[in-house]
Symmetry: C2
Subunit: 330 residues, 2 copies
Amino acid sequence: MELNLSESSTRSIRCIVKLGGAAITKKNELEEIHDKNLETMACQLRQAMMKGSASSKVIGMDWSKRPGSSEIACDVDDLGDQDSSEFSKFVVVHGAGSFGHFQASRSGVHKGGLEKPIVKAGFVATRISVTNLNLEIVRALAREGIPTIGMSPFSCGWTTSKRDVASADLSTVAKTIDSGFVPVLHGDAVLDNMLGCTILSGDVIIRHLADHLKPEYVVFLTDVHGVYDRPPSEIDAVPLKEIAVAEDGSWKVVNPVLDHTNNKVQTSVAAHDTTGGMETKISEAAMIAKLGIDVYIVKAATPHSQRALNGELRESVPDDWLGTIIRFSK
Amino acid sequence: MELNLSESSTRSIRCIVKLGGAAITKKNELEEIHDKNLETMACQLRQAMMKGSASSKVIGMDWSKRPGSSEIACDVDDLGDQDSSEFSKFVVVHGAGSFGHFQASRSGVHKGGLEKPIVKAGFVATRISVTNLNLEIVRALAREGIPTIGMSPFSCGWTTSKRDVASADLSTVAKTIDSGFVPVLHGDAVLDNMLGCTILSGDVIIRHLADHLKPEYVVFLTDVHGVYDRPPSEIDAVPLKEIAVAEDGSWKVVNPVLDHTNNKVQTSVAAHDTTGGMETKISEAAMIAKLGIDVYIVKAATPHSQRALNGELRESVPDDWLGTIIRFSK
């Protein structure tokens, strides 16, 4: 596997955050962003990044024309003498939610076969939809004063081989971080050595980034309070507080102690979800935890997600914290 | 300079097209796209790419939700048994026009200095504006059935050293072309080794791509009928039909024969144009012509641009063709 990441950098990444598709979009409304959630998530992210330093005025960085206006509003005059805020280093990856999935599943982009006109058209349509979402996420975070840079995996040279990452130019991601920006990557349609093309999910991107950037912790922001032993819509679903990952990558629930002998977790996967659901998420999270990096799966835009983003859970986990911790255990 | 372009490919690029900022946007209206022009340009581009093959039904590739609708319209059922159309290989680069320039010039992004909060914020704001434009261009071309892939130079690893290209991952561009897609790059804010950051103009991108991809010809689509001997708004401005470029990169007008001894061309540069105007364009075009590649500067969305895009001018130039040809002359 080709990797261009220079090892000489002094960067130390604090956190990689996944903004789950189900949290940032209205999953049952095609191409609709969950503005309210997203705004709270951006605000929490900013607070987590600024932690420790004095809270200064938010410098909005989306200077686009607003609908109905012919002018651009930006208060750059206020910026002249302001100190550059020190942000700790974060990387953001988001899912697709109600963007891209329609186009991908309708055309079968995830199964490959670029020689077919419908797959080629679907590849273009999928990329349009997910880059549209990426732009909206970047704008929402920039409005909150986070210096975000949208980076499409396709453009960054990410390719796959039978859906596994085959190449990824992490040097551009690293340079972006070192320059004080927050890269915002996303699940994308990419070229695949064997299949022609496929869908690279945000979760696989996170695992790859975690492996090479070695963040202190990883947070998955989703639309439920972590992982449950069965679909959370079922009335007796039990939230799983802690999952331990062994050296061989296998994982088991250690808190709560489940009474059924087989503690395999049942999960629901939406029919239109071309990249797998909670099952994929746990497997990917387990692979990250195996690297010695704590993973928190938590409901977005809640006090629990703020605590996870702040890194407060690394020492001890308060009893009233809702969410799932996935940890390496020797 | 680091270059990752594999030399083993069999690709042969027919044409690199610059969609000038002044042609695709309404230059005096902030962040407004010139929809009518753009639609005609997309249609002409498609015809040029399809030349020689039977004109088949346009397969729209922008399957996004339309404003006011809750459903996505795409006629994928028609695609199942359709043959894949053979397109000749084109690369598209567009300028910024009324996108990005405000944000860049207001903050001084082109002068560098990322440690200043206003430059950092302006960098983020500029990238949001130009990637927004890129998405709209990609969508317009995709609606016309051109299998476009938006690729931001920043994400593709383009960096500069005192505004000259220092690195560029052309391997992803090449792979995209080889897979049957049309990469759409654009003028972008990028990191600069010396300045911290700057603006990389579409014209510099074109020259770099031409140097490494060796297209048969390059077309600049703009808002005037080529290059004039003085600002085209002046009543006695003379259109220049042919400019000859010498081995040392110097250039002179060979048609018409100008009566003033000093045939230096006067040009106008809009005050908010942070990347230079016609002067930069001619210098960049001359550097391309020096490689033995014909350059045509022509007014977009006219019969003249269609002829240029078709490559009809390479053998002989009809008397009624309006535009400027820049050619290498030994």
